[in-house]
Amino acid sequence: MRAFAIALAGLATSAPAQEAPSGALSCTGCHALGAEAAMPLGGRSAEEIAAALAAYREGTREATVMDRIARGFTAEESQAIAQWLADHAAKE
């Protein structure tokens, strides 16, 4: 829950232009932003997350489901999501 509150805290404290980018809010259903969670994103940098999403999208990183999900987002969308996730995860 803490990670969730923090993620949404980001929504609330940001200017409207910095609201969660398209698709980002779905991520936290699986990936809590705290480091203690299963499938954690806590502590990952935007670069790391964006690189992982690109590799999943291109099929060069082994995956169960993330390849099928990452293909639904453009490079620009993935970059924005990665930045948003990293910004909120970093506060944990």
């Binding site: 805290a9 929504l11 609330a12 404290t13 698709g23 990936h31 299963a38 499938m39 293909r71």
Partner: protein, 419 residues
């Protein structure tokens, strides 16, 4: 009792000392939001809106919510009921008001939710009422029949009842599962249920059978389920599609008989999943259309029929998105962000959502269907080239990994919704 703004503030308890609650914007552009329904959609929406600084009241009938996800594991004896039970203490602690009661009706002009003993005013209303089981749709299947032939399609006492029946059944009995036409809650759910009951029967009552009587000729993740059944439970599960007479057209709980157009099946345990529609309050609020479900904007989840009311979760018509807990949770967050923008006088951004549905064929055998969705011609459509199911023929280690991820997903999503 009329819950005024002051009263809500008084009963809301101290807000958590989260950093965003102190922001200047709180004084302006926030609003009163009432959320009806405390499942994955409603609980997530309520927490998200409270975190965004709004004054939130959640109306929920029951003090305990039992999740449908992982209720099939309870049926198979793999988990206790407590493992799928959640309360609302964390929501209360998070600074929102939880009213245990039933929304009787909505006045969209005055923007009020009528309760048994008062009314709750709102600036924006979120309805997340889940499903109602249609006890008028299948001859012989009414609420009394459900005490003999449980649906167990709302988790809770019905889950316990079906579990007891399966446990009490003698070896060699037939467990029938009657599946309705689309759309219904959790499209792969009946087949996961068959799988996990088979897991139990194979170990405990190996002469028994499972008979799936289906009103459809196809089902979610069918090749994956059939591959799993052949590998794990050969000869134990029989699936009868509608074209081979699978559709149940009547039931008799007195003789434990399920009737199709072609045959009568007398069984030891009958799990009858009847046709469904949006929860009752959706009809009362006139946000449901002739289909029984609720058309909504794919960007904000605001009702296409009544302004100011957002409908999320199983009750809404979300285009290509399936009725799942994952969908409800994702929709709740998109709706919350849109409501926040609207209450602050802004414009909601574009929406894009993900769904991932895990199914377990056995405790160490999982697979998924996933999809990415965005608005197209006024409805949520699948993004082409994305989504789809786990591959056929995957090694056991991959199935085991997806089963582990299923449990990890459950931990994360229930924490996000219920704390």
């Amino acid at each position: 009792m009329r819950l005024t703004r002051r009263r809500l503030l008084a009963t809301g308890g101290p807000a958590l000392a989260l950093p965003f609650l102190g922001r200047e914007a709180r004084a302006q552009g926030t609003g009163r939001v009432v959320v009806v329904g405390g499942g994955f959609g409603g609980a997530t929406a309520a927490r998200a809106l409270a975190a965004l600084g709004h004054e939130v009241t959640l109306v929920e009938r029951q003090p305990t919510y039992w999740t449908c996800p992982f209720s099939n594991a309870v049926l198979a004896g793999l988990s206790p009921m407590e493992a799928i039970a959640f309360g609302y203490d964390a929501l209360r602690a998070g600074g929102l008001t939880v009213v245990e009661g039933e929304a009787q009706g909505i006045d969209p002009e005055r923007r009020e939710v009528r309760l048994g003993d008062g009314a709750l005013p709102y600036d924006r209303l979120v309805l997340s009422p889940g499903i109602d089981l249609r006890f008028d749709a299948l001859p012989g299947y009414d609420e009394a029949a459900a005490e003999v032939m449980p649906h167990a399609w709302k988790a809770g006492p019905q889950t316990e009842l079906l579990r007891r029946q399966i446990e009490a059944m003698e070896d060699g009995g037939v467990v029938a599962i009657a599946v309705p036409e689309n759309p219904f809650r959790c499209p792969p759910g009946p087949y996961e249920r068959a799988s996990l009951i088979a897991h139990y029967l194979k170990a405990q009552k190996p002469r028994s059978k499972i008979l799936i009587l289906d009103a459809k000729d196809a089902f979610s993740k069918r090749p994956l389920f059939e591959e799993a059944w052949a590998a794990l439970y050969p000869g134990l599960i029989e699936w009868v599609p509608v074209s081979l007479g699978g559709k149940v057209v009547g039931v008799d709980p007195g003789t434990m008989t399920l009737r199709t157009d072609f045959a009568e099946h007398r069984v030891a345990v009958a799990n009858v999943i009847p046709p469904q529609r949006a929860g009752t309050i959706a009809t009362a609020a006139e946000v449901a259309d002739a289909t029984g479900w609720c058309p909504v904007s794919p960007e904000t989840f605001e009702s296409a029929l009544v302004p100011g009311i957002h409908v999320i979760g199983d009750a809404c018509l979300a285009g290509a998105m399936p009725k799942s807990a994952f969908s409800a949770n994702a929709q709740a967050k998109v709706a919350a962000q849109a409501i926040d923008a609207l209450l602050r006088g802004g414009t909601p951004g574009p929406s894009k959502l993900i769904n991932t549905c895990y199914s377990l064929a056995a405790p160490d055998y999982g697979f998924t269907v996933a999809g990415v969705y965005q608005p197209s011609d006024g409805a949520l459509a699948e993004v082409e080239g994305a989504g789809g199911t786990s591959p056929l023929g995957a090694p056991a280690a991959v199935r085991a990994a997806e089963a582990d991820y299923a449990r990890a997903w459950y931990g994360t999503i229930t924490a996000e919704a219920f704390g």
